[in-house]
């Protein structure tokens, strides 16, 4: 019995490996080894419990492209300030259709360089799609119809700077281009200083009668506010550093206190209105490269831009005055997808940037959604909910859960204990606190789960980008060599080919429904076929212009042609809805 089974297994393994040799794109899957949803034997083995620098990321792109040449292509779309490539992975079934005309889903991460995990989650998405293409029918169909453009980091300079140089969990939000941030005519002259040389930039505290902080008796790493009337023990002096330029301020001119996410071309405002803004939208090379990609890929119909943290599924607008550009109809589309997202991402809330977070002028989300008319979400990754699977007590920054989580599950890896230091300006101080990769970036074992949940949400989003299909076509002879051609086209998904905002402002060209190979006398849109309500199109009637095809809705067009059109075909050509065609032979 035992013997029999082992032969069977050997035979199975043999036949599988032979099969794998024949088809390069297929990895060997043994059902009993496959944890449902994850490949048991991926062609590109990855550890999704860690972070990656630029070099490791590029190696991953190379490996994935090599393993799945028919599904993955990576290219540089431009250079960063320090000359690094900004890479985009194109993921689609290259053997089916014209990839550049399939509805496209844009995913980027790490625009704020300290927010590392957006990159890993974007990379995971590409990896998941490629590694499951052969096992999951849904993914196969998805990549037949759609294309993903995945830019794991659009701020590569600062990513490596964050990883390798002195930073806090909040610093290196910016890029690497130096600017004079304090108006003193000098550039980047007062950086953080790793005073004790331990490789971590943490907090400085000094014993003080008038200080308002004291040590939490339950957790020596934690500083808590003294109660009103209670004498404190310490004053907090900010992050590790000294006053390098003698202006009485510490770390006030670190490189680039600008914000790459305030550098975009919708409702851009200067830095006294919107902190972090530069000279004009697109001052940065990185922004320009991504913007250009959007204009050369007009098929992008959905977008996700990963940030951290707080557990949010954000939609625009960034500023209250732009509410006028979000019609009820467009909001319904966002709601339909966002509310499903809340279910897929426990602890994440679907909310609006300016109402529920803060006001942002010149943000990337507004550029993508309003300047380009693309349905866009931005997920704020990592939430304290993930620590103990419950909503935080006492708000995001007051809770002690991070300290408790560190003690119980990370065994003290997250904090540098307080130690004494002699500071040139502050005198005797103590240095200690949370490491830069704690609080905002996921701890390792939580990263994989959140990567999958977020990838699944973008896949759901991508699935609901428009899919255009012919519902009905017919040819009716009218006598005297004239024929009437009717076509009904419908969009079987939630997202329309054009948002309401797009239609009102003519952001993208209308959809074209074209009759090719027939002599068109006149063409029209049929508004109501029951009562013959039509709108004639005088200019180029062979190509009827349709402002939008809404989600789960259809449009009807009609042509009067001379001669039998049975050799003609109808082409539906939509920038964001793709191209489908149908020959009239079968009608």
């Amino acid at each position: 019995m035992k013997f029999k089974y082992s032969i069977l297994t050997a035979l199975l393994a043999l036949s599988l490996s032979g099969f794998a040799q024949k088809s390069e794109d297929k990895a060997v899957e043994i059902p009993g080894l496959r944890a449902i949803g994850s490949p048991s034997n991926p062609k590109v083995p990855m550890n999704w419990n860690r972070y990656h620098d630029n070099k490791q990321m590029e190696q991953f792109y190379k490996d994935l492209q090599k393993a799945y040449p028919n599904l993955v292509k990576y290219e540089s779309i431009g250079k960063s300030y320090e000359g690094r490539d900004i890479f985009v992975l194109t993921v689609s079934d290259f053997s089916k259709g014209d990839v550049g005309r399939k509805p496209g889903m844009w995913i980027d991460g790490n625009i704020h360089a300290n927010e590392l995990q957006g990159s890993e989650i974007a990379m995971y998405t590409a990896w998941y799609l490629a590694e499951n293409f052969n096992s999951v029918e849904f993914i196969r169909e998805l990549l037949r119809d759609k294309v993903f453009y995945i830019a794991p980091t659009i701020n590569p300079d600062s990513r490596d700077y964050f990883i390798y140089e002195p930073n806090t969990m909040h610093s290196s939000r910016t890029g690497r281009r130096p600017f004079d941030n304090d108006g003193d005519g000098l550039v980047a002259e007062d950086l953080y200083d790793d005073l004790d040389g331990d490789g971590h930039i943490v907090m400085m505290r000094r014993k003080s009668k008038t200080g308002r902080y004291k040590v939490d008796p339950d957790n020596p790493n934690r500083m808590v506010l003294a109660k009103p009337g209670e004498v404190g023990e310490y004053e907090m002096l900010g992050f590790e550093g000294i006053d390098n330029d003698g202006d009485g301020l510490v770390n006030e001119d670190i490189t680039g206190t600008y914000d790459p996410n305030r550098d975009w071309g919708w409702n851009w405002q200067p830095n006294y209105v919107q902190n972090g803004a530069l000279y004009y939208p697109g001052t940065l090379l990185e922004t320009q490269a991504v913007k250009d990609f959007f204009y050369t890929h007009r098929n992008i119909a959905g977008a996700q831009s990963y940030h951290n943290y707080g557990g949010m599924i954000l939609r625009g607008p960034g500023a209250a005055q732009d509410e006028q550009y979000y019609s009820r109809k467009d909001v319904q589309v966002y709601d339909a997808i966002g509310k499903v997202g809340e279910k897929m991402l426990p602890g994440y809330d679907y909310i609006v940037i300016h109402k529920d977070l803060y006001t942002v002028f010149g943000g990337e989300i507004d550029f993508i959604s309003l300047t380009r008319g693309i349905f866009t979400f931005s997920n704020e990754l990592m939430t304290t909910y993930k620590l103990f699977n419950e909503k935080a007590q006492g708000g995001l920054r007051q809770s002690d859960e991070y300290f408790e989580f560190d003690k119980l599950l990370l065994f003290g890896d997250a904090y540098v204990p307080w130690k004494e230091y002699d500071h040139p300006q502050f005198g005797k101080i103590e240095i200690g606190g949370a490491k830069k990769n704690y609080t905002r970036n996921h701890p390792g074992f939580l990263l994989l789960e959140d990567a999958h949940r977020n990838a699944a949400f973008t896949i759901y989003h991508a699935h609901h980008m428009p899919k255009l299909e012919f519902l009905h076509t017919e040819v009716k002879p009218l006598g005297g060599g004239l024929y009437e051609v009717n076509a009904t086209v419908w969009n079987s998904r939630i997202i329309p080919t054009h948002s309401d905002h797009d239609v009102k402002n003519r952001v993208n060209r209308p959809n074209h429904i074209r009759l090719e190979g027939a002599q068109v006398i006149t063409g029209m849109r049929v508004m109501d076929s029951d009562f013959n309500v039509t709108v004639e199109q005088q200019y180029k009637p062979e190509q009827i212009e349709i402002p939008t095809i809404d989600g789960m809705s259809s449009v009807k067009v009609r042509w009067i042609v001379k001669g039998d059109p049975s050799n003609a075909k109808i082409v539906v050509d939509s920038e964001k809805g793709g191209v489908v065609e149908k020959s009239l032979k079968s009608s």
Binding site: G183, D184, G265, W266, Y272, Y279, Y280, G282, Y539
Partner: protein, 538 residues
């Protein structure tokens, strides 16, 4: 060279712009090159246009040492070539000032000129039938998904695009009583009824009811700037600062912090009438009015402008349009920013006849008067009949106003305005902030403790920089840097200290308490008003 010119004069009448007598693009760039060979003038490039043309800057300066600088910019909106010609004429006039006057100006100031920010437009327009605004980018002006599908059409083949009138019962226009070939809206209050509908000369190729609305023309750089940028409007581009010309000039302003004041020869005007304070708008998060102290500066400069350009007659009002350069230079770049068309139609008797002329717009009337008074050829054309495919059974005529003449007179008309504006520029430069440093007062308090007191006075007639600039992070502020030796230490005061803008005639007192003997070096000032290094010995 001579032969080339002859060849060109032969060509020009066919193109229709012989009456303007504006140089061909090649001759214009040649002229800019020639100017740069004068003493005190250097030419540099601030970038390239969308079409790959160089965008030059002429620097009138004594040396490459940076000094507080006035920047003159022209040729942003392609419909305003006269601004470019006038900027170049002003440049010439400045270079030709008596040597001692020029030397005196350049001793502590520089004047830079960007005469043609939008070279693509000039290059295209001067060899075309109409003067369009934008650069060389092909744009879908009517946002219908088709590029340039409805260009202007020179129906009567006279080499220029003028107006087109169609006799119609539904028309709202009539002939003006006093001026031949000039149409005005019928005055309903006077019981007049219209005779004509009025269009731009052209054909409605795409049958959308508009004539020639989507032709050559690109992005109008003067609608592509960030202040109140108008999204999704004709000629404004896909987003703010999408164009290389826009970015080039803003980068240039930030990269050269010594530029204190900007004068734009363009299609707006905040000089004939000063900026007005709107306290509510000035207090909003998105600032919508010049700030109070900057408005005072505007009043002074406007007064100066009125004095120096009085001979040119009253200038027409011109509202700041959305996304324009001059407003952006103030609100987003933090410069004193002034703009004038430089030339406007003015004829001696205009005020008298204004009142009687019924329903025409004032600016149009002044234009018609000027054309008639000066017998300007080619500006308002007689109507000629054409056959028009869009109006098969109607009487269609082409003629009337040739748009470009409204803001651009024949070249000879620019000489007097250029002289007046040269005077204005000279006075404006002389008014710019100048810092005067008193000798520092050092008081020995005993025990090697010294008090250093420094007094700085702005002796100019303008502040060091506008109040708004104090809010803009990347504008270099007024600062003092006091460098001690390692044996010295501050008892009071800091090495580096920033201060807000220093008003005209205002002074600033700074003091430090230092312990320890030896030399101390102090740098004080700001790029827009000059910086000075002062050594004191304790």
């Amino acid at each position: 060279m001579k032969r080339y010119f002859l060849a060109f004069t032969f060509l020009i009448p066919a193109l229709g712009w012989c009456q303007l007598n504006y140089p061909a693009y090649k001759d214009l760039t040649g002229e800019i090159q020639r100017l740069s060979s004068s003493a005190h003038v250097q030419k540099a490039s601030i970038g390239k246009s969308f079409g790959g043309e160089d965008i030059p800057v002429l620097k009138i300066q004594q040396s490459t040492t940076t000094k507080p600088t006035l920047l003159i910019v022209a040729g942003i909106d392609g419909r305003h070539p006269a601004g470019t010609l006038q900027a170049l004429q002003v440049t010439k006039n400045l270079i030709n000032l008596p040597q001692d006057s020029l030397n005196k100006i350049l001793a502590d100031k520089s004047i830079w000129i960007v005469p043609l920010l939008n070279p693509d437009a000039y290059k295209r327009n001067v060899a075309s039938v109409a003067w369009a605004s934008g650069n060389a980018r092909a744009i879908d002006n009517d946002r219908d998904g088709r590029l340039d599908e409805d260009p202007v059409r020179d129906l009567n083949q006279d080499g220029v695009i003028s107006q087109m009138r169609v006799k119609s019962l539904a028309g709202t226009y009539v002939n003006h009583k006093d001026y031949a070939n000039y149409l005005v809206e019928a005055d309903i209050l006077e019981g007049e009824t219209g005779m004509y509908t009025l269009y731009k000369e052209g054909v409605d190729t795409d049958k959308d009811g508009f004539y020639g609305e989507d032709g050559d023309g690109g992005v109008n750089i003067d609608r592509n700037f960030t202040y109140t940028y108008p999204a999704f409007t004709p000629e404004s581009g896909e987003y703010a600062a999408s164009e290389p010309e826009t970015r080039a000039i803003v980068d240039f302003l930030f990269d050269n912090p010594q530029i204190a004041t900007v004068l734009h020869f363009g299609l707006q005007n905040n000089l004939s009438e000063p900026e007005k304070l709107d306290q509510r708008k000035a207090s909003e998060r998105i600032v919508g009015s010049w700030l109070a102290s900057d408005v005072e500066v505007s009043k002074y400069v406007s007064h100066l402008y009125g004095k120096t350009t009085k001979s040119l007659g009253p200038a027409p009002k011109a509202e700041a349009s959305a996304g324009n350069f001059s407003s952006t230079a103030y609100y987003h770049v933090g410069k004193f920013s002034f703009v004038t068309p430089g030339w406007w139609p003015h004829s001696a008797d205009s005020t008298k006849r204004d009142n009687k002329t019924g329903n025409g717009k004032e600016a149009d009337l002044k234009f018609a008067q000027w054309v008639q008074a000066n017998n300007v050829q080619g500006a308002i054309l007689p109507w000629t009949k054409v056959n028009h495919p869009d109006f098969p059974n109607q009487e269609v005529e082409v003629g009337g106003i040739v748009e470009v003449f409204r803001n651009n007179p024949p070249a000879s008309f620019l000489e007097a305005p250029a002289q007046a504006h040269t005077d204005f520029v000279v006075n404006l430069v002389k008014s710019m902030a100048t810092l005067s440093f008193d000798k520092p007062v050092v008081t020995n308090l005993g025990e090697d403790v010294y008090r250093i007191e420094l007094n700085v006075v702005n002796t100019g007639l303008l502040p060091t920089y506008p109040e708004i600039a104090d809010r803009i992070k990347h504008v270099s502020k007024f600062k003092t840097v006091c460098e001690l030796r390692s044996s010295q230490q501050f008892l009071s005061g800091k090495r580096l200290q920033l201060y807000p803008t220093l008003g005209a005639g205002k002074s600033l007192k700074v003091s430090w308490l230092v312990k320890g003997k030896g030399k101390v070096s102090i740098v004080a000032g700001c790029p827009t008003a000059g910086e000075k290094t002062i050594e004191v010995t304790l």
